[in-house]
Amino acid sequence: MSFKSSKLPGGARIFYQNIGYQWNIIEPGIQGVIFNASGFGYDRALERGKPPNLPSNVYFDPQLYLLPLPKESCHKSCANLATYPWLPIDIPRPEEFNTPDDWKNNLNQTIIDNWPPLINNQDIKKIVMQTIDFQLEFKASEIIIPSILTNSVESDLSREMTFVDSGLDYVAPKGIPALATFAISDACLINNNPSDNPLLQIAIDQFTARDELVGVYIVVENSRGESLRISNPKVAWSLLEFCHYLNKAGKEVIVNYCDSFGIVCMAAGAKGFAGGFGNKSKRLYFGDYQVRGGGGAYPKFYAHSVISEYLPERDLEKIRDNKLMRLLEADKTPASESLFEVLNSGGSVANLPEWREALGNLSGSRKHYIQKMLEVSNRVNGLTSQQIENYVLSWLQDAERNVVYLNDRFNEDALSDDGRHVKAWRSAFESYLATLI
């Protein structure tokens, strides 16, 4: 079987779009996508075929780190994951039932009865091999060796490394490049500076010691869900330290679920970062996988210069009315040009269909978000390491200054995003620069 490595010349840095149940949202110009197994089932992955406009870098994440999902509230995602043959759950087939509802009810009950699937140590090798075979069939450009979520500071990563070594034993003799998953809960990173965190140091040691490994695909679980982004400086700093050491050891690092903090990770040596507009693409928080009623989310404008997201009517019109739009001028993208036109001409965003503040009206804000991430990742792509560090430092410091100003200015009638994470990011990056560079 021929195999195309996704390694781009000159260590190109890439933004990857997370793909869940919606496969028609891939933005033109995107260089990489990561299909998330929990967003769709096995049959769909195999039968429907992939969208025609796929970029050259395609990944499939088996998401075994989602096994701790609570089955009662997250049965949809659990059911999707259970359809893949590597998980030891016998799920009912639709053709065995008279109606789709009968099948769904039976499926839900099966999930409730059998979730989480138990993975014994002797099963790991088989499971990992099956996920790899599937990724090859899926024509992924690089293999993601799956692993479980590390959520105990007492872990010595032995079990996680059994997943990694099972994958390497399978792909290395075939010369297939592979990334190892390192899924870690922020609860394991929150209490220590990175150099004083045994678990993080073990992880760095274990991953850098494996010559056969092309790199690491790191996902950080947001265990409390109180923020859409990493808001603890120690968690952010830990991620930067991990990227730094892995890069120094010649490993690729792709970071997922950390929103635009991925750009900071690129300054610390990450090859790329993945994300998307929806909460499930932005962060790894189990609460986001709960099945809910309602009409979805409100559109939001991602303002890169203040690393915050604003509601188009309630926030942006207020900013416009206070003559502060110049703070956001650099954040304009093709998808948000019409929004700026309306705002700058004194009009109401309510009259702009693609940005109107209505539940589920997300196409404009999604496009804008992706376009902005693409623009920034393309921008840093041409820079040297030193230039990226300078760019990121300026960006974070300027953003913090602007956030402080905006919060002060709108003290009485606060904006929906207070940007509190920005200080944590800036602090983490400065700590990183002070200790490792």
Binding site: S158, Q201, Q206, T208, A209
Partner: protein
Amino acid sequence: MSKINANELAKQFPNYQIIRLLGEPGGQGEVFLIQLEDDSKAALKIYYPANLVFRINREIEAIKQIQSEAMVDLIEAGTITLSSQSCKYLITSYIAGKDLRTFLTEGNRLSNDQAVKVCKRISKAIDELWKKRIVHRDIKPDNILLSDKGDFYLIDLGIAKYLDKTTLTAAGRNPGTLGYMSPEQALGYRNLTLKSDIFALGITVFECVTGNHPFNSDQNLIGCKDPQTLDYSQFQDTFLKDLVRRMIRIRPADRPSSGDVIQKLETTRRS
């Protein structure tokens, strides 16, 4: 003087000739020089009965798995009865020579060329072990043999650890030798990598070149005293000095891998 009755031992191995006692490594048992049926020499290691059987089995298992020019070959392993007690034994190829501890005690020092050679050969052994995800965990001058032909061999895999096997000791404690343990091993990290062995090799090479332990054999100084500030003046070659300096860095990720060490030495020696 041997604690094992020679006549009793000879009876257990009627096809082999017991020539003489070679030593009592680590107090675990005794090693005898023997002659096999084909007249070749071999080393017979008899473990004292009190030794932990799973440690012995681990050493046997490790030697079985590894093919390395820098390690002894396994010829035979089994159990015999001595003084009514069951004892494990191991027969390996015999390397005529002395361990580096004895070499040092006799007032010798490794030359630059010998230091390069020991670094390269033992790194190759570490590399072979790590391919099987085995960490030796007790590299020190006592566990490296210098053969009469001038080659170096890594011995004693009694506490080598497989990554996927349970630890032999209580949580938070690691076996090994104080003064040679990497900071992470001394801290009780259960999941070590080859970088831990690289650290111990770096300490060993430093000691064998200078005649002094870089941290005065004080494990407490390891991890506290910056390896960059040590006295490397007795190293003739800058590249070897720089390499050893990197090998004993505090953080595993800052140390070279075995592959890096081998490549660095081969590249430098060629140029």
